[in-house]
Symmetry: C2
Subunit: 169 residues, 2 copies
């Protein structure tokens, strides 16, 4: 029976390897930085301008986790909210390349890098996305690869091995 | 010149491979879940109990990123705030093993799994931590490996190759 919540959304079958989704832009203010850091990452270089200037970062910088959470929000707005997502599995290789400083504007792209059906749960597909987040100067601030479960519209369709994936080397 | 902010904190030299840090506990309420999801991960299964019961998760569940952010906060409180941390580099292999449901209590451990001096920046050490987060039933909810920069107290000390690491196989 179709899920009434996800019926109108893009399913596994509607996604294509290589699809690119634009994310953002979003300006990150001092207020944003201090609010997030106060709750989750209370370090002087995320909370206090004077301490921040004396740190390796050289000024008030967002928690790397805030960059992650803001990027997630962009991904939900631009993509995941239109997809029959069943939740995230995790991610690999998150790298903070450069700090996000006060009043930086971040934006980026998410690229579908793999799509495969679950072997054990035919109603589920596994979507892999590569995120490339940059500041207003075009400098990379964060990269990561995210794996997410997506509903398959027709779970009775045969599972084609590696149908959407790169050939194994 | 010693950094006045980090002078009293544990430096690279004070850390030991295998050290374990207890994290939490922290109860995750409906209010916590909805507030975080509203800002960063606005999916029905993080926002609305009825929609959540119809989802794969079977009930109101925290965003996996909230589990991450709450674990970070525990790590700051119990460990990083006492360490001369210079910021995070990123992490590998974050896995959400089980959802964190409304009113679950999460706790866990962080274990130092590697310590090495930077070859290019003698004043910096790289600390690797493995996080193992569990719910009140002892079930794993999230694991990840985190890399963080830590100040070296004596940058003039020779960099001993793999002094703190497992022997290369």
């Amino acid at each position: 029976m179709p899920n009434p919540i996800t019926a109108g959304r893009r399913h596994y079958e509607d996604l294509s390897n290589g699809e690119r989704i634009a994310l953002g832009p979003r300006k990150v203010t001092k207020r944003d930085i201090v609010a997030f850091a106060t709750e989750f990452d209370p370090f002087p270089f995320h909370l206090d301008e004077k301490a921040a200037r004396q740190s390796l970062l050289g000024g008030l910088a967002a928690s790397g986790w805030q960059t992650g959470a803001l990027s997630l929000r962009m991904l939900v707005d631009e993509f995941l909210s239109k997809v029959a997502s069943m939740g995230g599995l995790g991610f690999t290789d998150l790298k903070w390349k450069k700090p996000v400083m006060k009043n930086d504007t971040i934006s980026g792209t998410a690229t579908i890098t793999a799509l495969r059906r679950s072997q054990t749960h035919p109603e589920m597909g596994i979507l892999t996305l590569a995120l490339d987040m940059r500041n207003q100067k075009g400098q990379q601030v964060m990269t990561l690869n995210l794996a997410n479960l997506v509903e398959v519209r027709d779970p009775t369709a045969p599972i084609l091995e590696d149908a959407h994936e790169e050939p194994a080397q």
